[in-house]
Amino acid sequence: MPRITRPLPRDLDPNHEQLVCELMREFGEETLAQAAMKKDDAPIPVIIEEQLPRSNRLRVYVKWARWSGIREDHRTAAILDAYERNLGPEYAKRIVIALGLTPDEANELGVQG
């Protein structure tokens, strides 16, 4: 008998596609100094990507005012989708920390960039 398995539908923000699209525009080489020049309340996201020590896995912080009012898990999903679509699934699979932070949240946590 054929057996069909379907994954659970993903729980995403209603504006997920728009968020991913806006994030994808920001990919590219950017130094931290350039990122720091962006104002905290700027509508464009600042993407801070770091390799975990002794590992090839990645930690990604995305500092962006647009995250305000968006659930934490939806932020993570948008970041992962933007990476996967822009840099491919293999690259995206290296990400084990994907945090979307508003500028205020980033400041409270001490995340620079």
Binding site: E50, L52, P53, R54, S55, R57, R59, R71, E72, D73, R75, T76, L80, K93, I95, V96, I97, A98, L99, E105, E108, L109, G110, V111, Q112
Partner: protein
């Protein structure tokens, strides 16, 4: 009573006390004392994360954890693990969660990616619903605040063995 308190913290004491604080929180919530309930539940989360971190660091269950060990942990997180978030007086839930994820990689026993990603967003959510200084506030919490923190605390407890187990991806 103070002289009957343990002279210093240990993993064993954290692991015993975390369930006391969890049940204290549930009792307060059932009596409509939500902020107090969330305050205690946050300590359940904090002790769970700290226990996992020090277990991964190789501490024995009765080994003393004082300000010196906490300071060394924060220094290690900043310098060796490159965790750039504040430890918030060693109460930072996000800090401990991110330190655990990085420490697992550092010791060559990376957390499975799905667990790491979920720990990352759940700790972010817990951090947004709890701070040790909330004890100085009147009750401004909502039922949704409690539900989210409780769900995240439940999830964390269900994953505790996986956080500290030597499973390689």
């Amino acid at each position: 009573m103070r002289d009957r308190l343990p002279a210093h913290d240990t993993i064993a004491e954290f692991e015993a006390a975390r369930f006391d604080r969890y049940h204290d929180g549930l009792i307060l919530d059932a009596r409509g004392r939500r902020l107090g309930a969330m305050y205690l539940l946050g300590y359940f989360v904090e002790m769970t994360l700290k226990s996992a971190f020090f277990r991964l660091r190789g501490f024995c269950t009765d080994e003393r954890i004082t300000g010196t060990e906490l300071k060394a942990a924060a220094k290690m997180a900043a310098n060796d693990l490159r965790v750039s978030v504040h430890p918030e007086g060693y109460h930072g839930l996000q800090f401990w969660a991110l330190a655990i994820i990085a420490l697992r990689d550092h010791i060559g026993e990376p957390l499975p990616r799905d667990i790491a990603l979920e720990l990352n967003w759940r700790s972010q959510r817990m951090n947004s619903h709890w701070t040790s200084s909330m004890r100085y506030s009147r009750d401004i919490t909502t039922p949704e605040d409690w539900t989210r923190l409780w769900e995240d605390a439940q999830w964390l407890d269900s994953q505790y063995d996986r956080l500290v187990a030597a499973t390689t991806e």
